[in-house]
Each structure stands twice: as structure tokens, then as C-alpha cells.
């Protein structure tokens, strides 16, 4: 038996050794295109019965189409996708959702396809959707949600987040909100109110009445709490506001001027700067026990502090070198290190949620820039330039920055406006964020559906 086994092994060995083999040719593909991915968003199918219900309840003729529009708009705004014109679609939504005819979709150059189904039943909105890889002819993702019908826009945002994550490899930022200062009236007599809206500009709500000046609202990164600064009898106060409940409380009265309160990454502290005896330094306050701790102690003006996402470091701006520049330090105030060395004045540094970049405002030769640099100060990139713009705030995935931009007034003092703009890290995808009124000081929330 052993001999036979031995011979068989030799036989196999010879077979293998004599098989003709070519060394595999390798080709390196190091370039591609950065064009937006062509994607088809088929309207979500809906039964006639369900259509009638949605018409009665939400006053929407075709809820499936409306949700698809939300998704489509989000994808387009991201700059990474190119939603295709629905007129070119060959397959009906309900059939496409069951089994897409991939040849039809590839014919219109779609590389990905979103299909879905909507149903309103017993006061519940049920939505299911599928993401298809048209070229590979297979399903990539399938999910279903149940919620109250009035949440239909959020469903659209959540679908976009899932699709975005599946196709780009990073988390989305669509199911988020933006808080900002709504401005109305002439430049000298602006009425400023706190306002909140979905990231696409819909569902705006005003949180204050406008009889007090409000400034620098900032989201808590862990929940839907906001801190902001408001003047009460000409004294600045730091407030906390729970957006879900509407409950508002004063964090503290501070003796001097207070600026730019901001949450720590765990949401337990507020970091801010306030001026005491003509000297502005950085302080933190524990929200629970209201204990205040001084972080910097320098005769210069230290302002605009922002924590790194791990909470170990703080970036801020200071004029200790003669001009306002960006610095980083440990969270206890030690190891202060200047990181900006370019020409001009740097301000409002904000640490990216990804931790790799710091966004800032730069003033150079009368122009304002929004830019990013690495946390060691290298790799400075100016993303956008304008007459006046500032207050960058990161989207939760660290890919998009929102800021506000003011326009010049003419000789008659007219023409002034303040609007929100967003720009992505490439610097190419700059977009106006529609708001009901003029707007400034935006702050981006974390994802609502985490």
C-alpha cells in the first residue's frame, strides 16, 4: 500500500511540475477619475391605497417620489454622486424594486441604483429600500424602517446616510441638523434669533424670540443639547438648551466678556474664553458641578478653544507671538505649541471630528479664507476665499465644513447679507445652504440616528 501511495505522490508531483506556467502579468492602476458616481434613484413604489392615506395625512401626492427626491438632493449636494434624470428610467419602480433589469440601468450609465417601497399602515410609515450594484448585477444593501409618517424626510436622510456609507466607505452626515443665528433687519439693527434646521435647509424652527442678542451656538457632540451665548441686561450669559424638550438653563454669569463656549467631546464640560481684568484666557466649566478651571494663563488674548475628538488636546488662537495665530496644547494647558506660521492672521480653529485636521479662518491682505491644516500645522490648504467669511464648523464625518459669508454693503448701506455656505475638503464642492432668513454662526450636530 505504501508503495502505491508513494507512487501516486510522485505521479502528482510530476503532473504539477510539468504543467506549463506563465508568470502572472501585473498592471498597476494608480489613477482614476474623481467624477461623481452616476446613480439612479428610482422613486419608491407605493400602492394606490397607501397613496391616498399619505395624501390625506401628509398632503403629499406621491410620498415615494418625495422621499426619493430627498435622497437625490442629498447625494447631489455631497458632490460625490451624480443622480440621473428620472425621465431616462426604463423600469417601473415597483418592478425595479423586486428585480432590476440591470441592462436597462447600465444603458443609462447608472453604476448604482436605489429602489424602495413605501407603505402607510396603522399610522406607521414603513419604508424599505435596496441599493444595487448595476455593473456587478447584485444587491449591495437592503434595509427597512418604521416610523411616524411625519418623519418621512428623516427617512430620506437615513437612506442617504446608508447609501453614502456603503459607496464611499465613510459615515454620512445627512441625518443631522444645523443650528445657527438667524438674522433679520438692517445691518445696524439686526434681530438675531437662534434657529435650527435639517442639514438640507428644511424644517426650520426658531428657538429664541429675538429680543436678546444670541451668539455662537454649539452642539453637544454626544446629544441634542446646545450651548450658546446670550446677552441679558447687557451681560453675557452661557446657556444650555435641550432641543428635544426646549428646556433652557443658564450655565453661569461671568464677570467679564465671555466668548465662544463649546462642549468637550464627552459633553461633560464647556470650554470657553473670558476676559478678566482686560486679559482673555481659556477656562473650562464642569456642567454637573459648575466648577471652573483656568487652562491658560498668559498676558496675551487667548480665545476660540476647541477640543480634539479624544479630548486630550485643545486648539485655540492667541496673539502671544504678536499676531493672532493657532496653537495647540494638552487639555491641562501644558505643552503650548504654535502650529500656524503662514502669512496673515489665523482664528477660530476647530478640530475635525476625524481628528486629522483643524479648520480655521484666515485673514490675509484684506481677504478672508476658510482653510484646513494638519494638527502639526503642516499641509495648510485654503479651501475658499471671500470678502468676509468665518466660523467654520465640521460635519460629523469630517468631510464637509459649514461657515457663513457676509456680502459687502453698497454706498447706501444696502445689499448686506449673511448666508451659510458649505464646502468639502476638496475645495471644489462649495454650495449655498438655503435658509429662510440671513444666517450666521452655524454649528453642525452629530448624527441623529446613531
Amino acid at each position: 500500500m505504501k508503495t502505491i501511495k508513494f507512487l501516486i505522490i510522485i505521479f502528482i508531483f510530476f503532473l504539477l511540475s510539468t504543467s506549463k506556467s506563465f508568470s502572472l502579468i501585473e498592471v498597476d492602476i494608480t489613477r482614476g477619475n474623481l467624477n461623481p458616481l452616476p446613480i439612479a434613484v428610482s422613486p419608491l413604489s407605493q400602492t394606490n391605497k397607501s397613496k391616498k392615506i399619505s395624501q390625506n395625512k401628509l398632503n403629499l401626492e406621491d410620498l415615494g417620489l418625495e422621499i426619493a427626491k430627498v435622497v437625490e438632493n442629498n447625494l447631489k449636494q455631497s458632490g460625490l454622486f451624480n443622480p440621473l434624470n428620472k425621465d431616462a428610467f426604463l423600469q417601473k419602480p415597483d418592478i425595479a424594486h423586486l428585480k432590476p433589469r440591470f441592462e436597462d440601468w447600465s444603458l443609462i450609465k447608472a453604476q448604482a441604483l436605489i429602489t424602495g417601497k413605501v407603505l402607510i399602515e396603522n399610522d406607521k410609515l414603513k419604508v424599505e429600500f435596496r441599493l444595487w450594484d448595476v455593473l456587478a448585477a447584485r444587491e449591495m444593501l437592503a434595509l427597512a424602517f418604521t416610523t411616524v409618517p411625519s418623519n418621512w424626510r428623516r427617512v430620506g436622510h437615513i437612506i442617504t446616510d446608508k447609501v453614502y456609507e456603503r459607496l464611499t466607505g465613510e459615515k454620512g452626515y445627512f441625518d443631522t441638523r444645523i443650528i445657527y443665528v438667524s438674522e433679520e433687519g438692517p445691518k445696524t439693527q439686526r434681530v438675531k434669533k437662534l434657529a435650527i434646521m435639517d442639514q438640507d435647509g428644511f424644517n426650520t424652527k426658531y428657538l429664541t424670540l429675538g429680543n436678546e442678542l444670541v451668539l455662537t451656538p454649539r452642539f453637544n457632540p454626544t446629544n441634542q443639547m446646545v450651548t450658546y451665548l446670550s446677552y441679558f441686561r447687557n451681560l453675557p450669559r452661557v446657556y444650555l438648551l435641550d432641543i428635544e424638550t426646549g428646556i433652557q438653563e443658564v450655565v453661569g454669569d461671568f464677570p467679564g466678556m465671555t466668548f465662544a463656549p463649546r462642549f468637550s467631546p464627552n459633553g461633560k464640560k464647556i470650554i470657553m474664553s473670558f476676559a478678566k481684568d482686560g486679559n482673555s484666557d481659556i477656562y473650562t466649566m464642569d456642567i454637573e458641578n459648575r466648577l471652573v478651571e483656568r487652562i491658560t494663563n498668559h498676558p496675551s488674548i487667548d480665545t476660540s478653544p476647541s477640543y480634539s475628538p479624544d479630548g486630550k488636546y485643545i486648539t485655540f488662537n492667541s496673539d502671544r507671538s504678536g499676531y493672532q495665530q493657532i496653537y495647540i496644547m494638552k487639555n491641562d494647558g501644558s505643552n503650548v505649541k504654535r502650529i500656524s506660521f503662514g502669512n496673515g492672521i489665523y482664528g477660530t480653529p476647530v478640530w475635525s471630528p476625524r481628528g486629522d485636521l483643524i479648520a480655521f479662518t484666515k485673514l490675509h491682505k484684506g481677504k478672508f479664507y476658510i482653510g484646513v491644516m494638519r494638527t502639526d500645522g503642516k499641509g495648510e490648504r485654503l479651501l475658499t476665499e471671500n470678502f468676509y467669511q468665518e466660523a467654520p464648523s465640521w460635519a460629523p464625518n469630517g468631510r464637509v465644513i459649514i461657515f457663513y459669508r457676509e456680502t459687502k454693503t453698497n454706498k447706501e448701506g444696502e445689499g448686506f447679507s449673511a448666508k451659510l455656505w458649505s464646502i468639502d475638503l476638496t475645495g471644489y464642492n462649495e454650495r449655498l445652504v438655503e435658509t429662510e432668513t440671513d444666517a450666521s454662526d452655524p454649528s453642525w450636530s452629530s448624527l441623529l440616528s446613531n
Partner: protein, 327 residues
């Protein structure tokens, strides 16, 4: 009874072994009977600059190829020894030219026109083929205007080492067309031109020689030629939409093995690092791999060479997004 059984089993065993040996000799040893592969003789080919031959922008990969090729320099010179000898010869000749020209020029051309001087200098220093042609044309134009002996001699000195000594024929007034014929079609001249180009672009040649090697080896069925590779790359570059959300500080290389039909359409694709697809923290790899697969699907039929199917029927594409995403 037992012995009969024993005998018959032995016969069976023997028959089995014999069959095995026969099968082995048929299947396992065919290469013994085969004639050695007909390797085409190595032909040293002078290549033009890569830039003229390719539409692919310079990439770090090219550097790697060149560096690799530099390492293999020894091997290259062993395979193509005549080149080396030629080079040495040419060097000598060229040096002589310079010498003689330097010596002769002031004698023969006491007051040459500045334009001609410039052209002459250029001719002595640079020897790229297209430039030569231009110079020739320029010189011819000059001649047409002033068909003087001096210019003719100048030209003959520069272009032909063997005609440094004043030729009787040169003293005769010639028609421009005659010059053209002689200049362009004289085999000695062409050889000189090629040789000079070799020396003046010594460094480029070094690089190109390596590419020649790879091309030569491609004939031995191991690689695609540069232009074949370029065509394929250019096609896939256009099809690959790089997902912009990838983390640029991670390993963004995905290797995909393809099995192709002779017309370049796909039979099978296989992601080589498939295990990474489901690794925690490597979610981006799936996205990257899928984008690469989409690119291949979108591009098919691939622009593969028209011949040598055996060579490229299995192909590996290494998609690397680091360069594009600035990592």
C-alpha cells in the same frame, strides 16, 4: 488455490504499475520530447523617448521600473554586448569629431555667419534625430541662398566623420536635392546619427535600454510591452471612479486577478486580499474593491494585445488609490 490468487494479484499489480508508467510517460514527461522553445534572437532596438510613445503621465511606478531596470543593468549588458562595443566606438569617433572640428573650424571658417555657427554648435552638442533634420533643412536653406564651399564643408564635417577631409566631390557645386539625397540616405550618415544620439542621450538610453529589456522579455511571454500596458492603463483610468471618502492614510491597494477571453471580455474576477473585506476597521477596503470591480466591468472588453493570449489570459490589476487621494 492461494498461490493462484497470489499470482493473479501480482499480475494485476504489475499491470497497474505498467499502466502508471505509460500514463506518466505520456502525461508527465512530454517536455522531454518537446523541442526547446524557439526563442527569437535578441534584437537591440533603439527606442524613442517614452513621452512620445505613451499617453500616461509620469507616475512613481515608472520610477520603480527604472530603478529596477538599473539594478538589472549588468544583465542587460551581458545580453547585448555588441551595443557596448558600439558605444565605445562611437565615443571615440565623436571625440575625434570634436577634436577635428575644433581644429578645422577656425581654419576653414574664418568668418562664418553667426547663424551657421549657432547651428554648427547645436549640431555638435545635440544629436536628437528630429533636430538634425531641422538643422539639415536650415542648412539646406542657407545653401540654397549661398551655396558656398565653406558651408558645404562645414556640413560634411559635422554630419559625416569620414568626410572630414575635403572631398573632391564637395568642391563641386551641388543642387540642394542632391545634398538632401546624400544627407538623408547615406547609410554611413544615418549610422553616425544614431551613434551620436546614443552618446548624447546616454542617460536616457540607459533607462530606455532597461525598457528594451523588459520589452524583450515580454517577447518571452512574461510581460506586456509598454504600449500594451499603457493602452490598458489608460482605458481603466477612465473607468475607475475612486471613492473619495476613503481614508487616505490607510493601505488603499486592492489586487484583482482576472481571467480573460481572447477578446478582452471577462470570464472571472477574483479579489486577492478577500479576507480584508470583512476585517474590522477595514470597511473601506470593501468599498475600494467594489469600485475597482466596477471599473473592470465598465471597461470590458479590456484593451488587451491582439496576440499572445496565453500570456495575458490571466492578468492581475493592482488598484492603488493612495496617489490620487494624496496619501
Amino acid at each position: 488455490m492461494n498461490s493462484t490468487l497470489y499470482q493473479s494479484s501480482n499480475i494485476l499489480l504489475s499491470a497497474g504499475f505498467h499502466t502508471l508508467i505509460i500514463v506518466m510517460s505520456i502525461v508527465a514527461f512530454p517536455f522531454v520530447a518537446k523541442k526547446p522553445i524557439d526563442v527569437p534572437p535578441l534584437v537591440s532596438v533603439e527606442l524613442i523617448e517614452i513621452g512620445k510613445n505613451t499617453n500616461i503621465p509620469f507616475a512613481p511606478k515608472a520610477k520603480k521600473i527604472i530603478e529596477k531596470a538599473k539594478k538589472n543593468e549588468k544583465l542587460a549588458s551581458e545580453q547585448a554586448p555588441p551595443k557596448k562595443i558600439k558605444k565605445e566606438k562611437n565615443k571615440k569617433v565623436d571625440l575625434d569629431i570634436n577634436k577635428e572640428v575644433k581644429e578645422l573650424a577656425p581654419k576653414k571658417m574664418p568668418t562664418p555667419e553667426s547663424k551657421i555657427k549657432k547651428i554648427k554648435k547645436e549640431k555638435l552638442q545635440s544629436v536628437a534625430l528630429p533636430d538634425k533634420k531641422k538643422e539639415k533643412i536650415q542648412l539646406e536653406e542657407e545653401k540654397k541662398q549661398k551655396p558656398s564651399k565653406e558651408i558645404k564643408k562645414e556640413k560634411s564635417l559635422v554630419t559625416n566623420t569620414e568626410k572630414i577631409k575635403p572631398n573632391i566631390e564637395d568642391t563641386k557645386v551641388k543642387q540642394a536635392s542632391e545634398f538632401e539625397k546624400k544627407e538623408l540616405f547615406d547609410p554611413n550618415n544615418i549610422a553616425a546619427l544614431i551613434d551620436k544620439s546614443k552618446e548624447d542621450f546616454g542617460e536616457t538610453n540607459k533607462k530606455l535600454n532597461k525598457i528594451t529589456q523588459s520589452q524583450d522579455s515580454s517577447m518571452n511571454s512574461s510581460k506586456l510591452t509598454l504600449s500594451e500596458e499603457d493602452a490598458l492603463k489608460a482605458q481603466i483610468f477612465g473607468c475607475w471612479s475612486i471613492p473619495l471618502g476613503l481614508p487616505y492614510n490607510e493601505d488603499l491597494l486592492v489586487r484583482i486577478k482576472l481571467k480573460l477571453k481572447p477578446d478582452g471580455t471577462l470570464i472571472k474576477t477574483e479579489i486577492l486580499d478577500h479576507a480584508r473585506m470583512n476585517m474590522p476597521g477595514q470597511g473601506f477596503f470593501k468599498v475600494l474593491a467594489e469600485s475597482a470591480l466596477r471599473a473592470i466591468q465598465l471597461c470590458q472588453p479590456l484593451k488587451v494585445p491582439t496576440s499572445g493570449y496565453e500570456r495575458w489570459k490571466d492578468l492581475q490589476l493592482n488598484f492603488d488609490a493612495r496617489e490620487m487621494l494624496g496619501g
